[in-house]
């Protein structure tokens, strides 16, 4: 078992990869054999892909607050003239797709949570297309992301209500950046550096859902989180290190979450949720 990122990196070096370390620990703690665990992850992957496809085709939430942006992004991409490039923007489009499906109460795979489900799925499906990843590599991506997510959840939090959005989309973006590094041939330590770089930039991010719904600003934050995962991964692959060690970054994120007032922790009392437009929308949605 690993309790810190440092322990995870050590175990990964011994076993050959972060993904292998996660699978071994999962076998140990659940008592299930390897194939059962791999099959479970294959099912998660299938749900992620299906939610991406569903969102790109075009969906609309019950409240009509969100929907259709994945399709807009897809049309824009197809024109072929983007600033950020297709790999990054496909991740953005796919992340939006998943969270739009989530907002309309469709089936998604929480990773690590439902409100942040777009990032890992969006990044994975975009890099799979760009690099033509095999099924094994896609599973490696998910187990790597899961291993870092587990450490963050156990040492800090992945819940917006407990730690703000830094704990939610911050964690999912950190997980995705670590996984990108791993499947690009980076070392376990480089993955850990990517986690630190991502979390540092998300630190302090509040959770302020308009009308208490996981729609605004959640869907767009997933899109931007997916883009950050790519940049952090590239930085780590360029051998850029975090001056503050990854475990200390996670601990700092946890402390910020504890110090954050509850109005910024999924209570819909502060931030964007307390703007005049948000209050008007809230009234309109719940008066029916």
């Amino acid at each position: 078992m690993f309790h810190s990122i440092e322990e995870l990196v050590q175990l990964s070096n011994q076993l050959g990869s972060v993904s292998e370390a996660m699978i071994q620990v999962e076998m140990e703690t659940s008592g299930q054999d390897r194939q059962v665990i791999l099959n479970h992850m294959k099912n998660n992957l299938a749900v992620m892909k299906q939610s991406v496809d569903e969102g790109i085709a075009g969906v609309e939430s019950v409240t009509k607050l969100t929907g259709g942006d994945a399709k807009r992004m897809d049309d824009y991409l197809n024109k072929g003239q983007t600033l950020s490039g297709p790999t990054l923007l496909k991740a953005v489009r796919n992340a939006i797709a998943v969270n739009e499906v989530n907002a309309k109460m469709g089936l998604i795979c929480a990773n690590p949570t439902a409100g942040s489900a777009g990032v890992v799925a969006g990044v994975l499906t975009s890099i799979t297309e760009t690099r033509a990843l095999s099924l094994e590599q896609q599973l490696e991506f998910l187990f790597t992301a899961g291993a870092f997510g587990l450490v963050i959840a156990n040492n800090a939090s992945i819940s917006g209500a407990a730690g703000g959005c830094q704990a939610e989309i911050g964690s999912s973006s950190a997980m995705a950046s670590a996984a990108l590094v791993a499947i690009s041939g980076g070392s376990p330590d480089a993955s850990a550096q990517a986690v630190a770089i991502t979390l540092k930039n998300m630190m302090g991010l509040i959770c302020d859902p308009v009308a208490g719904l996981v729609e605004v600003p959640c869907v767009k934050r997933n899109a931007l989180g997916a883009s950050q995962a790519y940049i952090s991964a590239d930085m780590a692959l360029a051998s850029i290190c975090s001056v503050i060690p990854p475990d200390e970054v996670v601990a700092a994120m946890y402390k910020v979450g504890v110090q954050m007032p509850s109005s910024f922790k999924e209570t819909a009392e502060g931030g964007l949720a307390d703007t005049p437009t948000a209050r008007r929308l809230e009234k309109e949605i719940f008066s029916t």
Binding site: G106, L107, T113, A114, A153, S157, S159, G160, A162, V214
Partner: protein, 206 residues
Amino acid sequence: MIGPSSSHTAGAARIGKVVRQIFGEQPTQVDIFLYESFAKTYRGHGTDIALVGGLLGMGPDDSRLSESLKIAHENGMEVLFVPKKEKAEHPNMVRMDVSNGTHALSVTGISIGGGNIQISELNGFKLNLTLGIPTIIIVHQDVPGMIAKVTQTLSNFGINIGTMTVTRESKGEKAIMIIEIDQPDIGNLLEEIKELDDLYSATFFK
């Protein structure tokens, strides 16, 4: 999973389902007390439909979740939601008081993120149940010999006990045994335990 938030929807559905499993049947009267973030945003997150869906036996990925309030009504389950203003031990906390006329159960659950849950109170007994380890929960009458009978049955099945907590309302009243075990496979152990006298419910979580 289905629903916008893993802690507010998936976790809530899991808590509801655990309550249903410990209660042993579908309750007819349900009072749901919501605290902090649960109290403030339960309608937007679908926490209400998830808790009730869980009580009806649905899992977090059940496509009928969005219809749960209607289904509960059709099945004669009366549900009351009470958002509370008090601070709680965790920002996502719910207490559910369920009954069916003959017996009642009170459970406090917290949703810790990513759909994971903890049960922090059962009938007023403080505990910390994460349900990540195979766990047997037995609700029974506080009579002599109950613990011996249960542990003997476990021993007959070759099941090793990791930790065991036994607690009761008061002398001779209702008691609860929480037994964490090593094996995820228990065969038909529960059927045999349910044959014991003075037993209300026996549930296995893995």
